[in-house]
Subunit: 252 residues, 4 copies
């Protein structure tokens, strides 16, 4: 079996964790990492991360390589973007032309960039999700479903993160929005080194249901990305989100 | 609006809790309670339970009344059965003949009785569920879905009940069966007066998801029954379980 | 062994639950219940509550009996007060004179009434606690101890109660006060029929500790009262709180 | 203020995490790390771990340095031992002679080595704990205390760790022993990448208390060691365990 070839944009803390997970997976091959900075240029990703792997993955910098050169020499099936909201301007057009699938794990896009995604989705398969862990997206899906069954139930959200994390977590806000709650239903705790916990409490008159997601480490993003990648393999052109990926699992 | 008329079989602890919930609901009317014992014969249910209600609900005993006489005088739309596995022999035939819907909240049926249910379901709408709380059935559904998305995930079940409860909880066994787990994955705790807690732990490499159901009191069965009753109103003849009731909520 | 004789003031929901627990305990005997209302006057407490017991406990009303008459006829060792902040004016003086121990489970006392308690504590053993469950008081004690060990740790409180409970729970406020936290560290959730849950989260840089108390029912107050009663048996005159009762257990 | 000087034995995963925490603390100075292997010999610890620090900490190997030479050149106040049960034979005698305090974070010692510790404790301050996190030791202490208050309460332990961890966790066994429970009261779950969670459930008739410790990462051992180190500073010769360190915090 040929491995699906992946090019990765972004090599911050999350990008590194995602690269680690890709290198350890046998269905996918990390062809390259592309980043703005020219730090670590041409270093081997597996070597740098201390992961045993015979995948080619070198680190390239936009300071010394163009995306076209890179894709000519090292073509990929999927581009995974953990860079920033403007990363799409680097690779979007050529990905569209060459039918390379796009997985954008970007927290916020401006309207303009959402427009770019939509246009690209006519030519290739485009996926976008602000939070790309499997657990959080499942939680969102399962919570919406319970709300649909019992629209009158009382719902509260608890989110816990490390001291110093500013503002309400984006994931908690997204859950609240999906459940028609407002910010007063979100209880934000900040303490010590808590990595990230989201709990949705459904209070019925004589019973409670709790859905809880706890992050252990950033590598969870890597598993989420590969889950999406596997499910995009036979998807046509179009713009997909995580719900689109989960729904087919429901056909009884 | 005409209230849907309910006849209730069984008046043990759970039957009483269910009756309380029915009396407090405005869409349903408790016409009568039928029990084997002739204790409390012809007492008023709302008065006995201390619930304010102008619903007629009297208690009848099989020692002094037949089901036919009862239904002739006080016809109902739905019979709810919290009695025992043999209750079906009391009301099944006439419910089938008169098209009265049946909700059987019976833990275990023998093969023979399941056969009776199937035959009845040709003539009327028949529902059977061993555990009829909304929360537990949702949990079961949501857990199966996550297992479908991530069949390789590690799953463990924790169930907690009051000291003295014998054996593994039936609900935990049902969850385990639905998730292809065996008994070694069920962790049973018995301590003090815990009413009932079921937790399904999904262990991913870098994150965990927990689904937790906690019972507060037996009245939860009443809410579950009414949820089922509402969803059976426009269902045709046939044999239904809780999953059949939940699935339609998924149509996106 | 002679049972310790108890007189109980107050017969609301909590008073009834407390009476049930006392009746079931073999070391204590419920001599009487005294209440303002003349409802249920001279009814038997065990009969009314449906508890099997051969303890004398009748219900008396202040409308037809005085405390002096009652104590003359049915002397007790301890008076337990679940009535209201002014109950102390009914029985305080005579309890002091006759050396009857007092357990006051009253949420709030005015300064004046605290003064009365102090004066009484010269003559007899007086105990006062606004929340008299063993679990909550243990939680308070254990949380203060962890804060003492690690004064720099981040602490957050989560309290969950049924929808409709107004304001922050008094217990949460007391915990916050004991830990030098302010109200912003208390996260109050209101949902469905949750009886009462208090969680104290200690966030360390690389670990968390959680102390959780969950109420199942009001009878917990009864067990708390009897725990206090047992521990007051050989205590001299003085004013005690729950911490005074717990501390002796620490002597290594 | 002069920093307290620390020498560290052991540089496996836990040793590295502990070194990281010591380097970041301002009251203590990491003078050196001593290990068996001659890998990384004479490398700078802060540099190797990527921690900014001007502390001298170099890595020395027993293959090329003796403990006497090391202590002559780089004297320390405390030796922290995360190596193995036989590490004590390397540094014990000279630590005793020079009055260097010893903190041994070793899971198991043979009787012989416990004898060595006892003899050393005549000459210097010796501390030994198989688990040296603050949270777990607090949990143990707090749980024993609740058991003392309510010896009749039902207690169950839940411990969760990553798939593949063999056997019941040593910490869970220690908790069980301290509470007079047997192995049947320990519920061991293994799933995904759970770092480590210990929960003690106290089931009362009408309430529950839960004490929960969750590990986020190995650095927790570093904080535990420094807590012990701070509390040993003014302790005389003798053999101490974690309970000895915690008890003084109780004097009201």
């Amino acid at each position: 079996m040929n491995k699906t070839k992946i090019g990765l944009l972004g090599f911050g803390k999350t990008g590194k964790a995602v690269a680690t997970v890709i290198l350890q997976n046998k269905e996918f091959c990390l062809e390259w990492v592309l980043r703005k900075s020219n730090l670590l240029d041409h270093r081997s990703v597996p070597e740098f991360l201390g992961v045993e792997s015979d995948e080619p993955g070198l680190i390239y910098s936009l300071a010394s390589t163009t995306i076209v050169e890179l894709l000519d020499e090292h073509p990929v099936d999927i581009i995974i973007d953990f860079s920033s909201s403007t990363g799409i301007y680097t690779y979007g057009q050529i990905a569209g032309e060459r039918g390379i699938k796009i997985i954008a794990a970007i927290s916020h896009y401006s309207e303009n960039e959402v427009e770019v995604l939509k246009n690209l989705s006519i030519k290739t398969t485009v996926f976008w999700s602000p939070n790309i862990t499997l657990g959080v997206n499942y939680l969102l899906f399962a919570a919406k479903f319970l709300k649909k069954i019992a629209p009158w139930v009382d719902i509260e959200i608890i989110e816990e993160h490390f001291k110093g994390k500013d503002g309400i977590s984006g994931t908690a806000l997204k859950i609240a929005e999906a459940l028609d709650l407002d910010k007063t239903n979100i209880n934000s705790l900040r303490a010590g080194g808590i990595v990230g916990k989201h709990e949705v409490v459904f209070g019925f008159p004589y019973q409670t249901v709790r859905l809880i997601h706890e992050s252990i480490s950033r590598e969870a993003f890597g598993n989420g990305v590969l889950f999406v990648a596997q499910n995009l393999l036979n998807k046509k052109e179009g713009l997909y989100n995580f719900e689109d990926i989960l729904l087919p699992y429901f056909t009884p």
